[in-house]
Every structure is written in structure tokens, then in C-alpha cells.
Amino acid sequence: MAGGVNNAPRSIVTTETRPVRIVLTGIALAFIGLFLVVPLVSVFIEAFRQGWHLYLAALVEPDALSAIKLTLITAAIAVPLNLVFGLSAAWAIAKFEFRGKSMLITLIDLPFAVSPVVAGLIYVLLFGAQGWWGPWLADHDIKIIFAVPGIVLATVFVTFPFVARELIPLMEAQGSDEEQAAMVLGATGWQMFWRVTLPNIKWGLLYGVILANARAMGEFGAVSVVSGHVRGETNTIPLHVEILYNEYNFVAAFACASLLALLALVTLALKSWVEWRTERLAAEDRRHATEE
């Protein structure tokens, strides 16, 4: 039936020979081990090299705490903004026809295409002391560059595509029949959104949010340009790690780095859980479809 996947074991004539399979799998595993697993493990080994006490001390030290706090604040602002933007953009693209639609789709991808450093520089150019709006901002005593607002702006920029990218194909595939059905049945716009649209996209949305959050907390390049590296004030965790490392304070650097590594692991776990859930729901749909 439609959408069915052929799960039957592949026949001997269509599959590769055993040595070829072993070599291919071996290469893939070796790469993962060398470039992903070993570095990840080494982060934790370095962090704990001189014991629990130093590890914890490195994390509760005031500058580290302030970096953690700033990172959390940045993510807490950037992620919801992207959620709202991503939802609106995906909705507009998937459900309406309008002029400049393909342009919008291309623009959403821009942050993926542009180097994060350039993204940071754009904001310096706009809001910096010598920038376009710099003098005006200085007159009104508003600080954006080398302050928290700049960090948030840069983070919003680099995380821009995640939610929208996740939702557009999903919403396009689902079409707007269910929304129309809801409207014919008398639902208002809000009722339609909360009762029909959101439940249908919630897993894709969650997936996009998880990825956006990971990026928001881990972003280095763009944030580095706009932050000014003021200790205890405008350093996020990644920037703090760099400073510590440059000061040869390896244990503290790796301790903070281990937080980011941990975040990555949690993100991966969440991500695969969401994937597993959506996969299972889809498989259920397929199974029932075949039973007809």
C-alpha cells in the first residue's frame, strides 16, 4: 500500500558481498571512533584529571557561574523567538501562496550558509560604536554590542533556520485539509491552531527546538565577535572555555567544556527519542494502512 516500506530481508542478488560490507562498516565506525568518541571521552577525562574537587570548583567559580547564567538567558530568549518565527514562517510557506515565497525559503537558510563570524560582524557594523546606528544608540545610552543584547541578537541569527526548516516539509506534507475541516466545523483561528495544527506538528516542533537550543548554547563564532569577552559579564560558556584554555587552565577549561559535551549528549538522547517516537507513530500508520 501507499507509503509502505519493504522490510523484507534483502535478497542475495541485490546486496554487496561480505568483505565489501565489512570494509564499509569498518571505515564508518573507525571515523566515528576517531573523530567523535575519542575527543568526547577525552573531554571528560581531562575535566576529571585532578579529581572531583577541582572539577566542581571550576564550575562554581563566579566567572563560570556568570557564563552559565548568560548562556541560559541567551537560550531562554533566542529559542522562544525562533519558535515563534519558525512557526509563522513554516505556516506561511506551507499553507499560503504569495509573492517572494521561494525568496523567503532561501533567506531562512542564509544563517547556515554564512560564516558565524560574518554574522557577528554584521551586528557590529549595525550597532557598534562606529556602526550605522551606533551614534544614535550611544546618545540614548543603549548598549548592544559588547553587551547581552548583542549576544542574544547574534544567537537568534545563527539559530534562525532550525525550527522553520524542521516544520516546512512536515506542514507541506500534511497540507491544509484538516485545518479547512476544522474551519467548516466552526472552529476559530485559535481553536484550529491549538486543537488541530499544533498537535499534528508537535514532534517536529520539539525536534527543531532541541536542535536550536543546542546551537544557541554552543554558538561560538558569532557570539565571540559581539561579546567583547568581558569576564563575568559578557562571556557565554564557549567563550569562557576559550579564555580558560588560553590561560593554560586546562582542568577548568575542560570542566566547562564537559558541560557543553553533556548538553550535546542530552540533546542527542532527546533527539533520538523524538525520532524514535515519530518513527513509531509513522510505522503504526503504515501498519494500519496495510491492514485495510
Binding site: 475541516a181 476544522a182 467548516v184 466552526g186 500508520d285 485495510e292
Partner: protein, 348 residues
């Protein structure tokens, strides 16, 4: 509730979907919009529902202008071609949706909703599926749930877009009889869209045949089948043979056969004959068309013969299996064709 469609036009870019349409739908009737794909029938249905806005024209519901009434307030029931059931809700919640989204003042109580939903589910004979999800239902079941959901809001008009299009033949036949009975019980003004002439003729009180954004004919199934107003209707409502001819003294001549024609002298005309309205004979009669049987195909209870005729395309003749066997017709045999019925239209 009666519906009047006054001069409705709709364009999509350069494509004319509906061209100045005029149609009155009587209260309580079951009307079929029949036509090939792209003829505008679904667009018309969606305009009646309020899911599309016409470029020009007016829609009157019970004499009142509803052209600018929002789809939410039109009180129509709409059954989508692919049902559009809410995939994350159970069957019960799907049917209850229209009641639950009502404003607080008019929303029925939970017990009332329960009673109503179960009543509707019994009506469509699927009460036992209340806790299932749409993905767990067969096509025919989904179709009936979609109908129950549409009926839950007590619509004044029921609109169905290709209601049986996605079902296999057997289920489709069952369901259309069931829909006809349901309509006879409820007398709700209903409009359905179909491209299947058999479906339209069997189910509807009246059939609207559409082509290229225009209405070709409106009439009862008998009227459109027995007295097709245009060649298009004739061709669309069944298989046809057509013969090109020229009119002499009020007769269109095909070989030795002659058919009364209204067209003027020496005008070109097209003669349409249905395959089952042709008699076969081994004896040459005065008005028969000569030919040779080139193929025979058995189609269940009937047999379809192809006859090669001089100066014409292949002519199809349909016989019951009995008559085919009685006649003992053979491929390669010379025969004469006697059309019992024919319609002559001026050539376009």
C-alpha cells in the same frame, strides 16, 4: 435549504475554472455535479462551502446573500475527498469536534455531546469504533466517520467532494446506496461531486453535467441520459460510436443508414450511437451499415465486438452474452449494423 448560484465566475491565473454559472438547488434534493477532472465541479463545491471566494457572482442560501459569509458561519457540512479526519483524535473526538469548538453559550454539555456523538456513530453504524484513531480505520469506515463528523453540527447543507473516489469498487457501490438511503431519511440538501457517471445517475435526484467551467445540462438522471443536450453530455454519460456525415434533405447519411437531422442541407453532422443500441444482422437490409467483425471481448455478462466499417473508425457493438451465443458471431464474419437509436448533432 435552497441554494441559488448567480453568475459565479472563478479564475486561477489564466485558467477559467468557472464561467458565469447559474444554478438553483432545491431544498432537500440530492444533486450531483458531474464532469471530467478540471471541469470546475470541485471549485463550485468549495465556493458553495465558502472555502473559495468567487471572482464574480452571488450565492444565496435560502434567498439570503451568503457570498461574504465566512465558512465558519455558513453552517455547511463538508466531506473532503480524502476525509481530512483529525489524525491525532479518536473517532469520538473527531465527531465531537464541531460541538466542542462552539462558543461557551451554545456549547452542549459533556453528557449531551456524548449522547449526540454516539447517536451519529450509530447512524453511520460505527459506534464500536469510537476509541479508534483514523489511521486504524479502513477507507469506507473513514468515509462514514467523516460524514458523521460533518453531520454533528446539524448543517443545513451537506457537501461531499468525490465521496467515493478513494474506495474500491465494491465498497463504493455499497456506500452510495447507503448514502442514498441516508439522504431519504434526513432530507438534507446535499451536493456531491463526482467524475463517475454511473455514481451520479444512480444516487442523485438531479445531475448537473459540467465541462470546462460551464454547465452543459441540468436534469434528472433519465433526462440527461435519454436526452443529452449536447454531444459532450452524450459522450460523457456512456460509451459511444460516432460517425461523421453530411446532411441531405434533413437526413444524415452513414453508409446506407439514414438518421433524421435538424441541421440544414449539406451541413456536416456527427451521428452518435451507443454500442448496446446496435443490432447485428447477417442479412443486408436497406438501411444497414456493412462491416466485418475484427475482435470480440468478453466483459462478464456482456460481449463487446469491434466491427471494421468502411470509411469510419472501428464501431463497437455490445451484446448480452446470450444473444452473442445465439447469434454464433465469429471474428472475421461480414455483418450489417442496424442502429436502433441515434442522435445527430451538428459538427462543431
Amino acid at each position: 435549504m435552497s441554494i441559488a448560484i448567480n453568475g459565479i465566475s472563478k479564475h486561477f491565473g489564466n485558467f477559467v475554472a468557472l464561467d458565469n454559472l447559474q444554478l438553483d438547488i432545491a431544498s432537500g434534493e440530492l444533486l450531483a455535479l458531474l464532469g471530467p477532472s478540471g471541469c470546475g465541479k470541485t471549485t463550485l463545491l468549495r465556493i458553495i462551502a465558502g472555502l473559495e471566494t468567487p471572482d464574480q457572482g452571488q450565492i444565496l442560501f435560502h434567498g439570503e446573500d451568503a457570498t461574504d459569509t465566512h465558512v465558519r458561519e455558513r453552517q455547511v457540512g463538508f466531506v473532503f475527498q480524502h476525509y481530512a479526519l483529525f489524525r491525532h483524535m479518536t473517532v469520538f473526538e473527531n465527531v465531537a469536534f464541531g460541538l466542542r469548538v462552539r462558543p461557551k453559550k451554545t456549547r452542549p454539555s459533556e453528557t449531551e455531546i456524548k449522547r449526540k456523538v454516539h447517536e451519529l456513530l450509530s447512524l453511520v453504524q460505527l459506534d464500536w469504533l469510537a476509541d479508534r484513531y483514523p489511521a486504524q480505520l479502513s477507507g469506507g469506515q473513514r468515509q462514514r466517520i467523516a460524514l458523521a463528523r460533518a453531520l454533528a453540527v446539524e448543517p443545513k447543507v451537506l457537501l461531499l467532494d468525490e465521496p467515493f473516489g478513494a474506495l474500491d469498487t465494491k465498497v463504493r457501490k455499497e456506500l452510495r446506496r447507503w448514502l442514498r438511503r441516508l439522504h431519504d431519511e434526513m432530507h438534507i440538501t446535499s451536493v456531491f461531486v463526482t467524475h463517475d457517471q454511473e455514481e451520479a445517475l444512480e444516487v442523485a435526484d438531479r445531475v448537473v453535467v459540467m465541462n470546462k467551467g460551464k454547465i452543459e445540462q441540468i436534469g434528472t438522471p433519465e433526462q440527461v441520459y435519454d436526452a443529452p443536450a449536447t454531444p459532450f453530455v452524450y459522450q460523457f454519460l456512456g460509451d459511444v460510436n460516432l460517425f461523421h456525415s453530411r446532411v441531405h434533405d434533413g437526413w444524415a447519411e452513414v453508409g446506407a443508414a439514414r438518421f433524421a437531422a435538424e441541421a440544414g442541407d449539406s451541413d456536416k453532422a456527427v451521428v452518435y450511437v451507443r454500442p448496446h443500441e446496435i443490432e447485428l444482422s447477417r442479412v443486408a437490409t436497406e438501411k444497414a451499415i456493412a462491416g466485418v467483425i475484427s475482435h470480440s471481448r468478453l466483459l462478464g455478462a456482456t460481449v463487446r465486438l469491434e466491427v471494421d466499417v468502411k470509411d469510419a473508425e472501428v464501431v463497437e457493438v455490445e451484446l448480452t452474452r446470450e444473444r452473442y451465443q445465439e447469434g454464433g458471431w465469429q471474428v472475421g464474419e461480414a455483418v450489417w449494423l442496424n442502429p436502433r437509436e441515434a442522435r445527430v448533432y451538428p459538427a462543431a
